[in-house]
Symmetry: C2
Subunit: 202 residues, 2 copies
């Protein structure tokens, strides 16, 4: 279906180059469809971009619900929460650039409906944290901080590894999506849980 094709290509392009750097003409070239056709399906460029953002947030939320289903152990739930972001990236790698651009713009293209989804994510994380056996100094710690550690680190590391620049070029993770995401999964989960949880006593 054309409408979906437009959305997919648009997602890729907005993610790679950011909102302003993408022209409707460039989309037309890739889609091999007429420009007026895009405007038939989407009111304007902003509406198309907004749809792209919304879909990416929905996918993230859907993955979270899927991966957490049936899991009760608090640490495993936290792990699944983090993994759900990585899963979303695995399915739609373009999402990283999309979100980094949006955060870099200080959310200037976000509206209230999208803001609410983010707030809900952080609220969900807060509940996960409250179930964990936290060290006393991390009880009632700012969940936005933990959210930034998760998201900021994943996005930044993924972007550096997937960049074609010769940064960390000799690493086995370089330009390898699966290796990079698997590494982040193991490393970051342990890193955060070890930092904030009381030591195991079994």
């Amino acid at each position: 279906m054309t409408k979906e094709r437009i959305l997919n290509i648009a997602s890729e392009e907005f993610s790679k180059h950011g909102y302003s750097a993408v022209s409707m003409n460039s989309l037309v070239r890739r889609l091999e469809v007429n420009k007026a056709t895009i405007y038939y399906h989407y009111k304007d460029k902003k509406a198309l971009y907004h749809e792209v953002l919304k879909i990416s947030l929905s996918e993230s939320k859907a993955n979270r619900e899927k991966l957490l289903m049936g899991i009760t152990d608090p640490k495993k739930r936290f792990h699944a929460f983090l993994k759900s972001f990585l899963q979303t990236i695995k399915e739609k790698p373009y999402i990283v650039g999309l979100w980094m651009h949006e955060v870099a713009n200080f959310g200037s293209n976000m509206d209230e409906s999208l803001t609410l989804i983010v707030e809900e994510m952080v609220l969900f994380l807060k509940e996960l944290l409250d179930e964990l056996p936290l060290k006393s100094e991390y009880k009632s710690c700012n969940p936005y901080m933990i959210f930034s550690i998760i998201h900021g680190t994943i996005d930044n590391f993924y972007a550096v590894q997937m960049s074609s620049l010769p940064i960390n070029a000799q690493s086995s993770l370089k330009l390898n999506v699966d290796n990079t995401l698997n590494f982040l999964d193991g490393f970051l989960t342990d890193f955060i849980l070890n930092a904030i949880c009381q030591k195991e006593s079994k």
Copy 2:
């Protein structure tokens, strides 16, 4: 001096909106100077942007050298390393958006000279890490990972707090540069050091 004024305004604008979203016309409007004057001082838009990136990296490096000077204790050196980024943000808040946009683009506007500065930063961090009393599992750990935890977290958290969106709106850090940077300084330094270093035995 005009050349410097152009650079300062350009830094702000590129940071706020990203490379493509900034037009030479918009710079002219803010500068109240003729467009041809910009082209007298800078070859073209790309050259101007490149200069902005280079300056921002140089400032970061200069702050690192200043803040680490004379400090020998490994943990304090690590703290000073992290603090140097926060100091750079304090002096030039626009730097956060600038770098997030660049990372989101997977470094598509970086050339070899800028890449080298980043590599040198990570190499420096690696030496700092080697001096620390690391837990065995973090010996020879990927310094790019630690770099991403530092940079990704700072950038993401700062952007969220400074965004005018109603995300974490009730926090005392919201829209307050100094509080946010001070909080990051204390929280993140302890967080990382506690995670990777052996427990104190004194």
